[in-house]
Assembly symmetry: D3
Homo-oligomer: 138 residues x 6
């Protein structure tokens, strides 16, 4: 079993804020990430699929088809957006990078081709010092 990882980027902004908390509570918990008009990052998303190497083509997956799916479901959905306001899933959910990862998984699984190898792992790097990674659920 081989894992192929392809990397994508988008630039977006977000704000961490729990509506049920007071301004003081939000500030104490999130610090400058709670600033009222948000701030931004160059996010890097790595999508990993896992499967056998096809004996005829030598490939795990057709990379052009994978790129098409991720470009449509992830890059176009988040790029150059203020995630809290411009991305519908976040009108009711926290715009933390953890939850951004969960939404990316949901969006990819919803359209994942039946003949594709398993979506194995998603990683999001927010800055060079900060990244999130998880094994996707079945």
């Amino acid at each position: 079993m081989m894992r192929l990882t392809r990397s994508y980027t988008f630039s977006a902004s977000h704000r961490l804020n729990v509506p049920e908390y007071s301004a003081e509570q939000n500030q104490a918990l999130f610090g400058k990430c709670n600033n009222p008009h948000g701030h931004g990052h160059n996010y890097q998303v790595k999508v990993t699929v896992e499967g056998p190497v096809d004996s005829e083509t030598g490939l795990v997956v057709n990379p052009y088809v994978l790129d098409e799916i991720v470009s449509k479901e992830v890059v176009a959905h988040f790029d150059h957006k203020y995630i809290n306001k411009d991305v519908p899933e976040f009108h009711t959910r926290m715009a933390s990078t953890e939850v951004i990862g969960e939404v990316i998984e949901e969006r990819l699984l919803a359209v994942w081709p039946a003949n594709f190898p398993k979506l194995r792992e998603i990683q999001i790097q927010e800055t060079k010092r900060n990244s999130f990674r998880f094994v996707t659920s079945d």
Copy 2:
């Protein structure tokens, strides 16, 4: 003459929009950078000073003092801000990375110590694919 370059980062968001233009003109010129609620980047700022190597200390400049100045005038001023709204200089100026560079130069020169070597160059990297650099004016 030796040049010392030190690198700093901040995460912020901005929007490109000329108030005098119509929505269509702004969209045609700036594309997704004109999206209404902004988007963000991990900006990397490189500050270069140029001077002789001190024969006693072996240094061009005291790096701790330089870091203190840049941290206060640049990093704290821009980090985790929506530049268009939260950074006063941009209430009347374009929040393009080019102008962000000019404002950084103005802010550094306003407090530059008399005994410091010359501020030689400022470089701002917006993404890995896009950076701006200029020789500072005297």
Copy 3:
């Protein structure tokens, strides 16, 4: 158990083409990777071994011996070659990066010292956007 990863590079070229397919089929499947005279990459290979830390030397493996093995079996075998024509294993196998990974594993296991920790993982990065990784078989 500790994992040590060491990184190696080689520059090579390859072409994706299934001899049994028509020119149209190959072009449809592989796109520009099927161009007739090949194209190239700076490949980065990461070799991971896993074992206990020796209580006397503090090491998992002698890195000089590991480097000697990988330099001979991998770097010298692929560097500055057109893989399809110049590397014997690929006269009968696809020159995809997936299969390059399998051949690297075979070559390393064939000479792996009995007293060495387990060869745990091989990773090949083709470009900054594209990498392959697999747990080696026993």
Copy 4:
């Protein structure tokens, strides 16, 4: 379950030498890493925690608290030190990067908050070509 990885750096020097070995044995085993006055690296430490995403805050862990712990227990303990002489744990243990990793794990686990997600993995990069990684023990 989500894994959050945060990255830290320190600059230090070390020397590989087994006191019970002769000078010739040490030189044969460690090569230039045995040079008598040590040599240095920019070490990069990645600390990975694993836990569920909090449904209210959207976070796996409070990153400010994690940074405070790692800054105190790791960065301040190793930064700008000659590890063999200046870091007490290494008066009786090998200053190999493998053992540095073990000491980092011990120091973090000793102060790990009860309400924190599990410390999942520690990675130390010594140079761009050389890194160590291990799953932490329970």
Copy 5:
């Protein structure tokens, strides 16, 4: 005057060989870069333009127009090609990275818009250890 640098990549292969030299001379001069079927790289091209910041738009140049020009004249011209055979300019010129840089300059200057800021510098990185840079001629 501000300099904007934008970065582009292509993957290609090349071979260093002077037809007038003997096989021994070519091998002595170019070493493994003379291997008969070529080898490849992930080339990174950085294009720098220099001009004043437009007081209305805050821009040095429209980046979308610049990207369109470089994508057509450089990326599409070299990407996934064996430069010696597939890129016409190199049927009669050396496929060294130095000359690739000169050809890129010629191709860009031939279509450079009259209202564009000056093409100031071209840089080509062949590997992380090897890059070429020159100020463009007028």
Copy 6:
């Protein structure tokens, strides 16, 4: 005129200390860089030569000969050393990175081949955040 830059690395340690200063003065000026047993870095040295492109070979310089010179005069001279004690030039000079750069220039110019293009620039990166660069003297 084309500039070729090649990159080299060495790992070493150093200490900043002016013998004529008191311990307090040294500590105040250099901070943790004054720690008594030194600390280390992975230094990256970039050597830039500038000259015309040879019309026959397509090269600015023979890279194998350049590598041989820099490996002998720079890498072997500094790698895995405690610069203050193990590198003779620093028995009487400050081991700051600025002065390391000056010593590298002196060593390269002392053996620079008469038929080589001009040594144009030397850059030393101490950490990702800190680098030094200078135009070499004639």
